[in-house]
Symmetry: C2
Subunit: 413 residues, 2 copies
């Protein structure tokens, strides 16, 4: 109950800010009508956002006069936010203004095998510094860093990333803080892209949504009751390791028949190899090149590529139907780079197969769409965590708005 | 957001009442300490419950003097609630006092094949009348009726129950209201037993719990963030029709390889037949007798019975691990008659198999237990829906406490 009452106040504050982002000045009355909150509540929340300098009165700051009084808008240049997407092979950082528009970008490579914690930390810090040094945007209010692996939030932030040989917990926040003097918020990419859909994408305004991330690994971010469902130890969403084929293909988690073994990028490469062993679409050592080749060829109607998409949908369909049957969501969003590469042909095949596996009622209630987020959802979501953290850290203890241990991944530095 | 803010107020009210049930008189201070709510909030909620006559001041009404002032307790006899469990073969009704203790019971049979709506309605009404006529308990505040099938809440309550040949919606509430003059609340048994665990069982006080119902059919009730997760069209929890073995055993839903085909009572009978074709445990036309025979023999160490339990756990384990990986709950509760019959041997086998399939983190966070609810959880949950409905219907519109269309299954008559 404690958690719920904190969540609702935090969620209302987010909701008001979300309605102000990237649009012309808006009145408190409009905000009340759009959010369903009372005028008094909207007045309080707008007041807090004005105090923080995130909102300003009187329309856009660069528009002189003429606007009616009482309007508010985001002061985009009042501060900026950094979002970092740390993947297996690269680090990608973006700097955003307070409208969550990208104002600077930087990329660094992570060489295969070069995954010692000190090295990874140095590369992350170097990438972040590149966007910090960019001569654009207001003072940095915080940086969200999302990376693969389990984030253990007991006693500070540590990360287990077995794929990188990090079997022992690595105190990532502490190590990063030695390089970077901004508040840091750590989480994983699945939750980042789910928050991006909640704030800016297909889950916006929906009560129950599932964000299916299709990449090298796969997972399902759960946005239930309008907020991120984390689970009791912050690891909800491991749909990639639910069983699709009992005693089926071996999975790198040690189990067999997991969803990920069939629809993660390596699983899709295996589908291609089994169907068309000598296919020119196959780049044996390059997942990205292979998936993009399949996507391009499928868009051009190649029978071979469409075969692979269909075979992948034969596995992905029942696994998505499981989410529809179990959770009865309003929308299932297909996100991440594999979904983007296979695009329309994948979505339309998957819709058909889900329809054959899901129960009629939940299927009729669930839209299945590609993510509409135009930029990298992981860095956008990471920046959103930093924004949520900034809102939670600043002047809101007294009103109970500070997110508790379960409401945000980590407090500021 | 609207829904969330209504839910939190409703949930706080339930939480205060729940703390008062079936215990000696308690002070507002104790309630504040136990719920984490402010004294002001507890004062308001206690005041409302006093106004409704559900709580009384000054300790138990039958204890004269001596108690300190300012204590409150439930007035158990101020009213009563009816909970009805409509199953494939029987109707079971219980009448409860306001401490949710059973004060009367009635049972009627539903003969196989006799499932025309008018007949089923007459049998339900007759069973309810038997407990209404019992000369015990206060005036009836409402009756919850839970039955298999999909409950469609758009435009009144209709029920689709394909197992009974109800392929068209049956306006069950309207038909029942012709026989019964009490407020009616309809839902399905899965959600009833989940609410019973939330109020009185293993999910009490937990943020995230999953109630795995094992009967003829199987399903998973989801109690996330401390409240029932219904999904967008009130059909969340259809875990029985998630895929465990792609292209596996046919399921009566028309799909193949569903969890239910392996761990529902008919699936367990098939497991027995495949392992020990001539087993004396098998009662070919009687699910209940077969499952109970397996349970008794397993408890006595019969190798044949333990084989069946182990084979069932081989399927149930990965399916429960799917719930653990996806939702990261604090507790998984095994409920309903098959779980009760197979008891300890099933739970300990399932725990072992879940440990081999689930990821280490979520597995370590999840208890797996048998339901501790001592009575029929479906009629208890049905009565709880009636109690929630009574609280929602009475004098609380002004404060926004009336549950909206998604917060309870149906308003009163
Ligand atoms: Zn796996
Ligand atoms: Zn099925």
């Amino acid at each position: 109950m404690k958690r719920m009452s904190r969540d609702i106040r935090t969620a209302n504050r987010y909701e008001v800010l979300r309605r102000c982002l990237d649009r012309p000045a808006v009145s408190r009355q409009e905000l009340a009508a759009e959010t369903g909150l009372s005028s008094a509540t909207v007045g309080t929340l707008v007041g807090e956002l004005l105090d923080l300098g995130i909102l300003v009165t009187g329309g856009f700051v660069d528009s002189a006069g003429g606007r009616p009084r009482g309007l508010v808008s985001v002061d985009a240049g009042h501060g900026s936010l950094v979002g970092v997407d740390v993947a297996e092979t690269y680090v990608h950082a973006e700097r955003f203004d307070l409208n969550l528009r990208v104002v600077a970008r930087a990329d660094r490579e992570l060489r295969p095998g070069a995954h010692e914690p000190a090295h990874v930390v140095a590369v992350i810090a170097d990438t972040v510094r590149a966007v910090l040094d960019a001569d654009t945007g207001g003072p940095v209010l915080g940086a969200g860093v999302c990376m693969p692996g389990l984030v253990d939030r007991q006693g500070g932030i540590s990360v287990y990333a077995p794929n990188w040989g990090w079997h022992e917990a690595v105190p990532l926040r502490e190590l990063l803080a030695q390089h970077l003097d901004v508040p840091l918020y750590l989480d994983n990419p699945l939750r980042a892209s789910t928050v991006a859909e909640l704030w800016f994408g297909a889950a916006r305004g929906r009560d129950d949504a599932v964000v299916v991330n299709l990449g090298t690994g796969v997972g399902a971010g759960l946005a239930l009751g309008g907020t991120l469902h984390r689970g009791v130890s912050n690891s909800a969403g491991e749909w990639g390791h639910t069983t699709l084929v009992l005693d089926g293909r071996p999975c790198h988690c040690g189990d067999r028949g997991c969803v990920e073994a069939y629809v993660g990028a390596p699983g899709i490469m295996r589908n291609l190899r089994e169907l068309h062993p000598g296919s020119p679409l196959l780049h044996p050592d390059d997942q990205t090149a292979t998936i993009e080749a399949i996507g391009r060829a499928a868009a051009e109607g190649s029978a071979e590529a469409l075969d692979v998409v269909r075979e992948t949908a034969r596995y992905l369909g029942p696994a998505v139907a499981d989410l529809v049957n179990l959770l009865n969501p309003e929308v299932v969003v297909l996100s991440s780079w594999v979904a983007a590469a296979l695009g329309g042909p994948l979505v339309s095949e998957v819709r058909g197969v889900v329809g054959r596996h899901a129960l009629a009622g939940p299927f009729a209630a669930a839209e299945i769409v590609l993510s509409p987020v135009p930029t990298d959802p992981v860095s956008l979501g990471a920046a959103t965590f930093a924004l949520e953290g900034f809102l939670g850290r600043n002047g809101v203890d007294a009103t109970g708005l500070r997110p508790g241990p379960r409401a945000s991944i980590a407090g500021g530095a």
